[in-house]
């Protein structure tokens, strides 16, 4: 039986205590903290990082599809899943699709992937989901929304949790929405949206799938379902017929309402603790609700080395200030840096160099065996011409050879840390470093590569890799 074959997750390093937001505007705090993406992260980069976590030890050439679910895609016309697929170095003859415009778009992506697999159209599809929504200043959403991502690999072989069945219901309710061009999430009055929407529809979907499978709530080891806040999430347990012990924490107090990503992040957290035979219910909400039940197999023990939710939760750092949060979200207008204007990006040059940029390919000389980055025609060491084979550097560890913290270069997280690194196995590159404490950066330090947004310029989100201290 087909189902989940691997899982991964991503939570940004930085956390903002909700008391800091509340104190800034003089409003009551919601409690806990929220995960905040760095200035160089967006839904595409977070989904990519969760996918890398999910693909640990898995042959990427065997994946037949990549779905990307988000309500916060950086582009309205350019497919995010193609960028992620390229960064992950997946084959080009795979199915890619973006699922969007609803907080249950990730659940729909899972359903579509399962349909394709069950129909025999694909053996293995990777579903990624990420969101980074923002609420307007001093409102509830400003405190409740957090950033995060999850990834599920679905397929027929080495299944760690079989897909037992699913249920879907659709409803054109206007409870929360963003129109084209809206920066902040809009909502109708809280009591109505939660009572008539969330509190009614999510249990309907849950009951629907249980009925289909002839299951009772007591048969579930865990229920991983969306929660717009901790109180509402907890209150729903009784309606679902669940004991507190069956309810998987929805990460509200630690990460926040991660929108489209939340139900799947919660499912990943449940899978991390699950044992063979466990039945887990997963329910997503948004313009209706989607539910499915999986049953864990013995194979789950083979995917225990993920950073997942648990280790990403542990490896955290407070964002230095609320002002920095506003800056990273580009919610304040800063005095522009007195630096020369960026030369416009040549998109034809960008396309020509795709392999050395998105999947971070270098080259290895077949004559003398040395790795070099970026890819070369003439070997830097033995000077043989065109004897190179491509080699992927993005999943290699590297060592800092030298570095600087540059205050002159423009950065949303100054100083701009630049590292020269040597990849394990050879090859040297110069990369910005992110998610670092300047005082902790050292020559000889081991770093990992992380997929980030290098800059946004004239409508172009340009992605590349940066170095960062090993996480988790």
């Amino acid at each position: 039986m087909a189902g989940i074959t691997s899982y991964g997750a991503y939570i940004p390093l930085h956390r903002l205590p909700r008391t800091q937001i509340a104190a800034a505007w003089g409003v009551p705090p919601q409690g806990g903290e929220k995960a905040v993406r760095n200035f160089d992260e967006d839904s595409i980069t977070m989904a990519t990082t969760a996918a890398i976590d999910c693909l640990n030890g898995i042959d990427r050439s065997k994946i037949d599809g990549l779905y990307f679910a988000t309500t916060t895609s950086p582009y309205t016309e350019r497919q995010g899943s193609t960028i992620i697929a390229s960064a992950l170095d997946l084959r080009s003859d795979i199915r890619t699709a973006d699922f969007t415009n609803s907080l249950r778009c990730g659940m729909e992506a899972v359903a579509a992937a399962m349909d394709a697999i069950n129909a025999g159209a694909a053996n293995s599809i990777l579903v990624t989901v990420a969101d980074t929504r923002i609420g307007a200043a001093q409102g509830d959403f400003e405190q409740s929304f957090g950033d995060g991502a999850a990834a599920l690999l679905l397929g027929k072989d080495n299944v760690i949790a079989t897909m037992e069945g699913s249920y879907t219901m659709t409803a054109p309710i206007m409870d929360r929405w963003r129109a084209q061009g809206d920066t902040f999430v809009r909502a109708w009055e809280d009591r109505w949206t939660l009572d008539e929407g969330y509190t009614k529809m999510l249990p309907q979907a849950a009951a629907g799938v249980l009925k289909k499978l002839n299951l009772e709530p007591k048969d579930l080891a865990k229920a991983a379902y969306y929660g717009p806040n901790g109180r509402r999430h907890g209150a729903l347990a009784r309606r679902l017929g669940l004991d507190a012990a069956q309810v998987q924490d929805c990460l509200f107090d630690t990460v926040g309402d991660t929108g489209a990503a939340q139900s799947m992040m919660t499912l990943v957290a449940a899978l991390e603790e699950a044992k063979a035979g466990d039945k887990i219910l997963c329910v997503g909400y948004g313009n209706g609700a989607d539910a499915f039940v999986v049953q864990v197999t013995n194979a789950i023990e083979k995917v225990r080395d993920r950073l997942g939710i648990k280790r990403h939760l542990e490896a955290k750092r407070p964002i230095p200030s609320f002002a920095k949060y506003l800056r990273w979200r580009e919610l304040v207008t800063l005095e522009s840096a007195a630096r020369p204007e960026r030369i416009p990006t040549s998109i034809s040059a960008l396309w020509r160099d795709t392999m050395s940029i998105l999947p971070l390919y270098g080259s290895k000389c077949k004559a003398c065996g040395t790795q070099q980055y970026p890819p070369q025609r003439v070997c830097i060491f033995c000077h043989e011409k065109d004897q190179m084979e491509p080699v992927r550097m993005s999943d290699k560890k590297a060592t800092i050879f030298t570095f600087t913290h540059d205050n002159l270069a423009a950065s949303a997280d100054p100083p701009n840390t630049v590292t020269v690194v040597d990849f394990d196995g050879g090859g040297r590159g110069i990369f910005n470093m992110t998610d670092r404490e300047p005082e902790e950066v050292q020559v000889g330090q081991t770093v990992e590569m992380t997929f980030r947004k290098l800059y946004f310029d004239r409508g172009l989100h340009n992605y590349y890799w940066k170095t960062m201290p090993a996480r988790g």
Partner: protein, 390 residues
């Protein structure tokens, strides 16, 4: 068989504007100032110039802007661009032209108008269209990574390392006070240098050279003709270049030296017949765009043993009254750095010193002067090393 350039070409006239924030002067104004000072110095008329090598990085394309400024009557002009090593390359090409006999009198001139950009530091709009995919680095950032590695490799704590390179700037600031054309003419203490804001760790404000406007010019003739122009011409002993752009790919590059400086130095010493640079070179103007650059250049030019420049800096060996005065005019640090003009400014100081006209900063009997001019940044450097003498 190549015979080299030694003693085949002489400089008979030079000009150099004040370097600095020349708000009142355009690039054209500065070209006129430098060229006419050189004409007068050589005792020639503009019409005597037969060919021109005109260096600028950002202040003009083709020879057209120079022809417009100097009204050179349809003379041939080659525009030279080699980043911060531009003006040295203009001199090299002009010298080769007179040495080959295709003309008798050639002008090498460099200019840069940097301060009209509206920001501090280098940079300009335009440039090569690329994917844009590279980390956002700056000139101080690129050279700072040499300092980080130098400190790490030779076991210097950040404080020890910053003191070492700080003393380089203290020395150059002292020399700048003795030069009325220098951009900065103020003494600074080591404490001031160490406490200054960080530009790119570990480099602070005083580890970085000035960003300046300026122009400098040289008139070259064949050596045998030189005495017709003046009694004290300065002879060219070596003009060498080395270009490297391999370091970022080569994982064996150590980031504590610039290989092309070492290579250009070796060739220049061979061309000039210098056996022991530390003993034979009487003075040097090197490319101290940043204090760390000057420090490692001392080792690359074999003035100091590898890893030992700290001892020579601390003993004052490179001070005006030391064994090998370096940056007698204040260097890029204090004289300033209009990038397309700096190479000729370095030669200008050597020329004046060799003629005994350097005033309060005059070095006693310098005999041989070396200039070192660097374009680009580590590890991709375009290096010129020249040697001039009596």
């Amino acid at each position: 068989m190549a015979v080299g350039i030694k003693d085949r070409v002489a400089i008979v006239g030079m000009g150099c504007t004040k370097f600095g924030e020349n708000w009142e002067m355009s690039a054209d104004d500065m070209l006129v100032e430098a060229a006419y000072e050189a004409y007068e110095d050589a005792g020639i008329e503009p019409k005597d110039i037969e060919a021109i090598w005109y260096g600028t990085v950002w202040s003009g394309e083709t020879g057209g802007p120079l022809a417009g400024a100097l009204k050179l009557q349809y003379a041939p002009i080659t525009r030279v661009e080699n980043a911060c090593a531009t003006a040295s390359d203009a001199l090299r090409n002009a010298s080769y032209a007179v040495a080959s006999g295709v003309c008798d009198i050639a002008l090498a001139i460099g200019v840069e108008k940097l301060k009209d950009s509206g920001f501090s530091g280098l940079g300009a709009a335009g440039g090569i269209m690329t994917s844009g995919i590279r980390p956002d680095t700056t000139a101080p950032g690129n050279f700072a990574m040499m300092a980080t590695k130098y400190f790490s490799r030779y076991g210097l704590s950040p404080d020890e390392g910053k003191r070492m390179i700080g003393m380089v700037s203290v020395k150059s600031h002292h020399n700048g006070t003795l030069n009325p054309r220098a951009h900065f003419q103020r003494e600074v203490s080591l404490e001031t240098v160490l406490k200054a804001p960080i530009i790119a760790w570990p480099l602070g404000l005083y580890d970085c050279c000035g960003v300046s406007d300026g122009s400098a010019a040289a008139i070259v003739v064949r050596a045998e003709d030189a005495k017709k122009f003046r009694p004290d011409p300065v002879r060219i002993k070596a003009l060498q270049m080395s270009v490297g752009n391999e370091g970022l790919v080569r994982s064996d590059y150590d980031y504590t030296h610039v290989e092309s400086t070492y290579q250009a130095g070796l060739r220049a010493y061979e061309e000039a017949g210098v056996k022991n640079p530390r003993e034979e070179i009487g003075m040097a103007e090197v490319h101290d765009c940043f204090s760390i650059t000057e420090a490692v250049t001392m080792e690359d030019l074999q003035f100091s043993p590898r890893g030992k420049v700290k001892e020579d800096i601390e003993s004052g060996f490179f001070n005006l009254d030391g064994g090998l005065p370096v940056q007698p005019d204040g260097g890029l640090k204090c004289f300033g750095h209009p990038i397309g003009a700096s190479g000729l400014r370095m030669i200008y100081e050597m020329y004046k010193q060799l003629q005994g006209k350097a005033g309060p900063r005059q070095i006693k009997n310098p005999k041989l002067g070396l200039t070192h001019n660097l374009g680009g940044g580590p590890p991709a450097c375009t290096i010129f090393v020249g040697i001039v003498g009596e």
